[in-house]
Amino acid sequence: MEAKDNTLLLDLIRDKAEVKSVKAGCWRGECGLCTVLLDGKPVKSCLVLGVEANGRDVKTAEGLAPEGQLARIQQLFVEKGAMQCGFCTPSFVLTAYYFLQINPNPTEREIREFLSGHICRCGTYKQMIEAILEYAKELKQEEEIPLPLPPRKKKQKNQARSD
């Protein structure tokens, strides 16, 4: 993928890779809707240059499960009603997915702290927290924590990669 130096990662993903689940909200890193996982860690892509993702792994919400399926965290968001307009949902799902990897047994307070830079204007925080706590409970019951899913080999609806 080719782009000018001054292209934001957000624009690279939305315009060049045409992955539209990543949203542009505030353009200044306050709302969190542009969150993607860069090498597995969440970043706000409106404050990352596209060129910084060169040769690195970028995961968006479509990449959490094979085509046509939903990852468990996504299913739980649906079950708990953790969305109204759905605009912020892909970013919150990615953030939740990452958070449970570093803190598989969180308290509600820890979840709220981790999501403190992330805004949902419809206000479905309560349901999101329920979904996350439910997922944490399920993870405890499994013998091992499910590994991140392998990257798709087919071209790029799920993951944006810039070379």
Partner: protein, 293 residues
């Protein structure tokens, strides 16, 4: 952070990613003010979107490994590299043990996602009044290590911010690390931040205290920021608490000295009178907490 983003795109620039500090300093010497250093880019990219800065060259320092380190400095001070993220800093145990005021400040500086990108020196170099990091750094006698092709020098944080968005760095210099002195033995410190409805400080304060009940070994330091374009370390306070007298008396003297040193500004966040008032309240709170509890 920014007050509004009328532009959704960045101005044109060339992205450079040197792999050694020497290369970065060469680039700075070549381009001077036309090059800007990017660590996390959280401040830089936001300002560029508003066209407050439009450098022709952006020099990404994240590829320079020596700048990403946080470690003990001489006799258990600390040195924090320019490219070390706030997450790295918060994960460094000595921060909370030795430099609690700085820890409390950094904790609120960035949200848990931006923390992976934001850096302490990035905050400091913004040199805007509501930037919180200078205040706790000053009570630990911190110095910024500045480097250029000509060599290195140390700039005390209390002299680092010259005015609105102006640092003491020369156009071909960059800040490579901030050095904190070892805290006095048995010291406690804290950081207070007063805002109203936003993340921008109206007044902030940091205080340190060691051995409150022993005048001969007592060390008390106080600094504040966000009151005006430059933050202030109230040096008088340290001398006041080395003299004899009851704690209440000394505290009154110290608060008076702090008030005298203040030249509060009026801006969109708050009026000068309000800032002066809140400074007094924060001073009393900070000193009371450290000396009387």
């Amino acid at each position: 952070m920014s007050f509004g983003s009328p532009y959704l795109t960045l101005p044109d620039f060339q992205y450079l990613r040197p792999t050694s500090l020497q290369d970065a300093l060469q680039l700075l010497d070549e381009h001077k003010d036309d090059a800007k250093i990017m660590a996390g880019g959280v401040g830089l990219l936001a300002f560029m979107k508003e066209r407050l800065v439009s450098p022709s060259y952006v020099v990404d320092i994240k590829g320079i490994s020596e700048l990403g380190k946080i470690q003990d400095d001489g006799a258990k001070g600390a040195v924090i590299g320019a490219a070390a993220s706030l997450s790295q800093l918060l994960d460094w145990p000595p921060l909370k043990e030795r430099y609690k005021a700085l820890h409390d400040c950094v904790w609120e500086l960035s949200d848990p996602v931006l923390r992976n990108r934001s850096t302490l020196l990035g905050d400091l170099c913004e040199a805007l009044p509501f930037v919180d990091s200078p205040t706790p750094l000053m009570i630990f006698d911190a110095e910024v290590e500045a480097a250029s092709v000509k060599g290195r020098r140390q700039i005390p944080v209390s002299d680092f911010i010259k005015g609105l968005a102006e640092t003491a760095l020369e156009p071909n210099e960059m800040a490579v690390a901030v050095h904190l002195k070892p805290p006095p033995e048995n010291s406690n410190s804290l950081f207070l931040k007063h805002t109203s409805n936003s993340e921008f400080s109206i007044v902030n304060a940091a205080a340190l205290c060691a051995n409150p009940s022993r005048p001969e070994a007592r060390v008390v330091r106080f600094a504040y920021g966000a009151l005006a374009a430059t933050p202030t370390l109230v040096r008088e306070v340290e001398g006041i608490f080395q003299s004899k007298g009851s704690i209440s008396q000394l505290m009154d003297e110290a608060v008076a000295a702090i008030k005298r040193s203040a030249e509060p500004m009026t801006d969109v966040l708050a009026k000068a009178e309000y800032r002066a008032h809140m400074l007094e309240i924060l001073a009393v709170r900070a000193l009371t907490k450290l000396l009387k509890e």
